[in-house]
Amino acid sequence: MKNSKLTIKDLRVRFGHKQAIKGISFDVYQNEILGIIGPAQSGKSTLLKVLNRTIELIPGAHTSGQVFMDGQDIQKLSNVYKLRRSIGIVSPLPVGLPLSIYDNVAFAPRMAGVRKKRDLDDCVERCLRQAALWDEVKTRLQTLGTRLSGGQQQRLTIARALSHEPQVLCLDEFSIAIDPVTTMRIEEVLKELRSQMTIILVTNLVQQARRLADRTAFMFNGELVEIDDTKVIFSEKAAVRQTYEYVNGVFG
């Protein structure tokens, strides 16, 4: 049995009267890539917001149920900022903060109190290298992050998500705004990162989950339909008929 990094128990989220997540439970294992697939509006992105508790900052959101990280109930943590730093989030559309490339990556360590220029320099270089962006931007770190191309900006957000040394990296449909070549490069990056952290990969592209994920979860309409080894999910052996139909594109 593998170690559980995250344990989600009977999680429910609603926005006003609209149920976004309707009671789901599953484990995320240490150092795995967990793919989460499912059509739009099935609660995948909301799930990520619950993990780092930014859901609390969204007006009208109500959460019940429990999430454990390394056995600790995240609702009961006194340092929510540390929790957020231990989880890296990459959003669907790249959000380059309106700061220089350097400042984008150095933002998180600075907010956490790192002041020494040496440390910041090291962190920026390490993260940009990890995100496969360093060679393209090393000569112009002071230019605006928002001037980069879409694919570069997405790698910049990945570098930013890595800058606070997360234990869990969540990618929310990271490839919808970038070209296939960049997507492949980032997928290579993810494979390398797997040894250092746990990765949750929310994706609309079922083939992406098939390529990368150790296990895959299928979410639909706020419910967890099935979670199993990726091989199983993408085979005839999928326990639920819906899953089979979805991954084979005959859904609906």
Binding site: L57, G88, L93, V95, P98, F107, A108, M111, L144, A161
Partner: protein, 294 residues
């Protein structure tokens, strides 16, 4: 294949018509404005000089310059902005960034928007009752500045809120995701990217504070007060003062036999002060926009 059809021709005609209509409306706006300024300057021409700016009114307001009222207006505008800006900006930050969307904040929002539309005479009476009488400050620069501050506050709050909410929500989420607090997010990302709009809103209120007559007439501006010419610290906070708007009202309606050029000159100085501040605002905006980051 690419030849014009009757439909495209029709579209082109309406395109031209629309352009013409909008252009003429713009000119219709600009021409009267230029005419007014030209008229004012022409009428005031004989009296305009440096002396006019640095001499007090004299001979029962029928001669001399506008030093005392000009300095009074500068004081009133400056102090009212010093009071209203921090108060208004901080309120707007709270309402836009912290406050939850509930019945109370909606009432506050509604109150602020409605207060922005209250006529200035109502603020004048409020200032008279609250600051001059109830608080016992008496008719003074301070009471008048407070009244002007209360008058400009709702607009500053509204425009600041507008500027803050123009910063994309995704930026805030990105900051929260990396473990920044709300205040860190506001300080490092939201404010630097909305400062442009915030300043514009504030500076537009300068012209309003400088131009309003009623609020200062009831709370601190006087008919006539001689001060030492050239002394820029001539008014104390609790002194009464003269003000350009009130001075203009006085010499054009209350004093007989005032030479024509005098009220026109006063109007030009008032207009010039406001235009100067607006020009400053435009320069500031252009400089900040060149640093605009997305």
């Amino acid at each position: 294949m690419f030849t014009a059809t009757p439909l495209t021709l029709k579209n082109e005609r309406s395109e031209k018509a629309a352009r013409l209509v909008f252009l003429s409306m713009t000119l219709l706006m600009v021409i009267p404005l230029l005419l007014i300024i030209l008229h004012l300057v022409a009428k005031a021409w004989p009296i305009l000089s440096l002396d006019f700016l640095i001499k007090n009114p004299s001979h029962g307001m029928r001669a001399g310059g506008v030093f005392a009222p000009l300095l009074g207006t500068i004081y009133l505008v400056l102090f009212s902005l010093l009071i209203a800006t921090p108060l208004g900006v901080m309120t707007a930050v709270y309402l836009n960034e912290y406050a939850r969307d509930n019945a109370l904040t909606r009432i506050i929002h509604l109150a602020v928007v409605n207060l922005a539309g209250v006529p200035s005479i109502v603020y004048a009476l409020f200032g008279l009752g609250a600051f001059v009488l109830a608080a016992g400050i008496g008719r003074s620069v301070l009471a008048a500045s407070l009244t002007l501050a209360i008058m400009t506050l709702p607009v500053i709050i509204t425009s600041t809120k507008e500027a803050l909410s123009s910063v994309p929500f995704a930026f805030r989420e990105a900051c929260w995701n990396v473990g920044a607090t709300r205040w860190q997010t506001i300080r490092h990302v939201v404010l630097p990217n909305s400062i442009n709009g915030i300043l514009t809103g504030i500076i537009l209120q300068v012209s309003r504070a400088a131009g309003e007559t009623a609020p200062v007439m009831f709370t601190g501006a006087v008919f006539y007060k001689a001060i030492r010419e050239g002394d820029f610290f001539a008014y104390g906070l609790l002194d009464q003062c003269m003000a350009l708007s009130m001075h203009l009202f006085t010499i054009s309606t209350q004093v007989p036999d005032v030479p024509d050029a005098l009220p026109y000159g006063t109007a030009v100085v008032l207009l010039g002060t406001v235009l100067l501040v607006n020009a400053f605002a435009i320069i500031l905006r252009v400089r900040l926009r060149s640093r605009k980051k997305w």
